[in-house]
């Protein structure tokens, strides 16, 4: 009897698959939010496992700020083709053109916050009643309070003080018309779990995660990649550095770190020794103490 024990990674995998299947069963039109970042890639990988040998019964939805790394888009298209999934892209640029949002101006302008409107519009347009996200509770303190099944009202808002209690593995996804759920199958995974799992499963990732030479500018401690949307400002100089990215998001707010990690083993060693959280490179979280909570309440990922 003693051998009937699952190690923690297999327990996490089994739990995530359970959550993905519950999502398919409890909702009419679920979507899987796919950013091309490692967490959404792992989530899509788990979805393949959950429904094998059938195809993933979700559409994939990418909210494109227009400021993505080209490597991310190239990877996304290759990945979608490989797994035979259907992808919808919602463009922040379209929301700007339609006057739904106004682009930020100034030196630290970012489209990060604008994504929320584009996301909510896309959910409404396609009548999605559930959106699977790769968020993890260990990422950020507001996310530590998230449920697996997280209710959103008619306006897409999160009310952290009135969350449904979530007991055992009983997930209550009942909702009124117009409301939706955000669902987080990776809630209990840590950054280390994700990397170890990527290695075990030999999951392909965008090249951005691995060390490479890049022209960057050091802005408030974040090494931003110099591009059409990030140019050195007065007093800043661009320089060539050997960097990699611990998270992948919008180019205007995702900073790289100095790193020579070229393999998964190198990255795992780096993660084990890290003294900063992976979101420490995200200037979007540093705007205020409750930057994440505030964005989430409005309907952010």
């Amino acid at each position: 009897m003693l051998s009937y024990k699952l190690n923690h990674v297999r327990q996490l995998e089994s739990e995530s698959i359970f959550v993905l299947r519950e999502t398919a069963a409890q909702f009419d039109r679920p979507a899987l939010l796919f950013s091309g970042g490692k967490d959404s890639i792992v989530m899509a990988h788990l979805a393949r496992k959950a429904f094998h040998p059938a195809r993933i019964p979700f559409m994939l939805l990418h909210v494109d700020t227009g400021h993505n790394f080209p490597e991310t888009i190239e990877f996304r298209d290759r990945f979608i083709a490989a797994i035979g999934a259907r992808l919808i892209v919602a463009h922040v640029q379209d929301s700007i053109d339609a006057g739904r949002v106004v682009e930020e101006t100034g030196p630290n302008a970012s489209r990060n916050k604008l994504q929320t409107v584009t996301l909510l519009d896309a959910l409404e347009k396609h009548q999605f009643d559930a959106a699977l996200g790769g968020g993890r509770r260990d990422e950020e303190k507001a996310r530590a309070k998230e449920r697996f099944f997280s209710h959103r009202n008619d306006f897409g808002e999160w009310d952290p003080k009135a969350q449904r209690p979530e007991l055992w593995n009983l997930f209550n996804g009942r909702h009124h018309h117009g409301e939706h759920f955000r669902i987080f199958p990776l809630s209990n995974w840590t950054e280390m779990d994700v990397w170890q799992y990527i290695k075990r499963e030999a999951i392909d990732l965008p090249s951005l995660y691995f060390s490479h030479e890049r022209v960057v500018v050091d802005r408030h401690g974040s090494l931003l990649a110099v591009s059409d949307v990030v140019r050195p400002q007065a007093g800043e100089t661009s320089e060539n550095r050997t960097v990699r990215f611990r998270t992948i998001g919008d180019m205007t707010c995702t900073g790289g770190v100095d790193s020579v990690a070229t393999s998964l083993d190198d990255i795992i060693a780096e993660v084990a020794a890290a003294r900063e959280t992976e979101r420490g490179t995200r200037s979007d979280d540093k705007r205020s103490e409750s930057a994440m909570e505030d964005r989430k309440k409005e309907g952010y990922f």
Partner: protein, 425 residues
């Protein structure tokens, strides 16, 4: 940790535990210390905490700010909701369900305890066993947590006095002797603030021969939790690829809720009662020789029979109870009280039925453990026993035999809120 040391990472096992304490008995400090000393707090988190502490005018870095993730929590200096924390040592990975000690106390403690296999019950050594302590122990026992650590904190404020500690141990044992499920209780004298017996053994208490808290958490054996006797697969989703290569494939996907299944096993499908055999147990990676809880699998069966979500695949030699009349202990979570004759949606494994409250049996006074009969309603955070009748039969085991097939939640049909947690007796 070097790369070679991470090789054992995949093989580590997982311990989920819950913490509970009254206001100001040092729970946040204890969690902060466990995380900090196991290097699970990062520099940017520490900086953010220091910055917030300065703004608030706190004298020291307030470790509670780490767990209080919501703005309202930081403003009011209280914890509102269960927070989940993660840390690992080279021996084990831990998930902490950190439950607040005051507001919505029962609801949060029950939620945190429902997935935990160990509870840390914190006692302020200056105050000893108080009402809250008894409630924590009662709820841990009710949710069938078998392992408890009673951490007697703030020993430094009592000059590490052995007699005080012994008196608290005796008082707790006296109360806990009436709690059947709590089979393993470990007592540890600590000072969370000074770090005595939290991670390292303290030199201040030579009279204490046991392990430090972390040593205990790393080594305590909790292997007997899952039921590996009664084979149960609640069907979650039917996989029908409808592709050329898998034209006739019908797989029954679900997470095994008990027992062990092997290809060739005779099985019974409930509620139809059809008998058939397991053809294969499939996963994306490979077919399995055997599968056990809590694995998520896809099962194929020999006969082409009607099986859908909410059905249960079991073995004929020990099927679950099948009944529309259920007796259960429940915790009530809603501001609107529970009354007899009320109707709810009941969610049990992958099945949803309607249920009517036939009778209110009794309420439990969780400070004295007395049963109070003849109460017309259960209010928010109250616990008691009720009788339910469901619109169609449930396939269940007693909660004390199987936490998955013995638990349910009640949902208000108007608001869709989860209003109760139930444990079948």
């Amino acid at each position: 940790m070097s790369t070679s040391e991470t090789a054992g990472y995949m093989e580590m096992d997982l311990l989920r535990f819950t913490t509970a304490g009254s206001v100001d008995d040092g729970k946040s400090t204890l969690i902060g210390r466990l995380l900090y000393d196991s290097k699970s707090i990062f520099e940017d988190q520490l900086e953010a905490m220091e910055e917030s502490s300065r703004k608030r005018g706190d004298e020291h870095v307030n470790l509670a700010l780490l767990t209080d993730g919501l703005r309202a929590e930081r403003e009011q200096g209280i914890t509102i909701d269960v927070a989940y924390r993660y840390f690992a040592t080279p021996r084990r990975k831990f998930i902490i369900a950190d439950t607040p000690g005051h507001i919505q106390y029962t609801r949060n403690m029950v939620t945190g305890a429902s997935t935990a296999s160990l509870a840390i019950i914190l006692i302020d050594a200056r105050k000893g066993v108080v009402e809250q302590t008894c409630r924590h122990a009662f709820i841990a026992n009710l949710l069938r947590i078998q392992h408890a650590v009673v951490a007697v904190n703030k020993m430094d404020l009592l000059d590490y006095d052995e007699d005080t500690y012994d008196a608290i141990v005796t008082a707790f044992q006296d109360f806990a002797s009436r709690l059947d499920n709590l089979v393993a209780i470990t007592f540890i004298p600590i000072s969370a603030l000074r770090g005595d017996n939290v991670v390292d053994k303290s030199t201040q208490m030579p009279w204490y021969a046991g392990p430090s808290l972390l040593q205990h958490l790393e080594t305590v054996y909790v292997g007997s939790e899952e039921n590996h006797v009664d084979a149960r697969l609640p069907v979650q989703w039917v996989i029908r690829p409808q592709s050329d290569t898998h034209h006739d494939f019908r797989g029954y996907a679900g997470r095994i809720a008990g027992g062990v299944f092997k290809p060739g096993d005779d099985v019974l499908v409930l509620p139809s009662g059809f008998a058939t055999r397991v053809t294969a147990i499939e996963t994306f990676d490979s077919d399995l020789e055997e599968a056990f809880s809590p694995l998520s699998v896809t099962m194929t069966l020999d006969d082409d029979i009607d099986v859908s979500r909410g059905d249960m695949i079991v073995k004929p030699n020990n099927p679950p109870s099948v009944d529309q009349d259920i007796e259960a202990m429940i915790c009530w979570f809603s501001e609107r009280p529970l009354r007899a004759r009320a109707k709810y949606v009941l969610r049990h494994t992958t099945k949803e039925v309607r249920a009517v409250v036939r009778e209110m049996r009794y309420k439990v006074d969780i400070n004295t453990l007395h049963k109070v009969e003849g109460e017309p309603e259960f209010r928010l955070n109250e616990i008691g026993r009720i009788a339910l009748r469901t619109s169609s039969p449930l396939f269940y085991d007693r909660y004390n035999r199987n936490r998955t097939t013995g638990s349910f939640v009640l949902i208000d049909e108007q608001t869709n809120e989860t209003v109760a947690a139930g444990m079948i007796v």
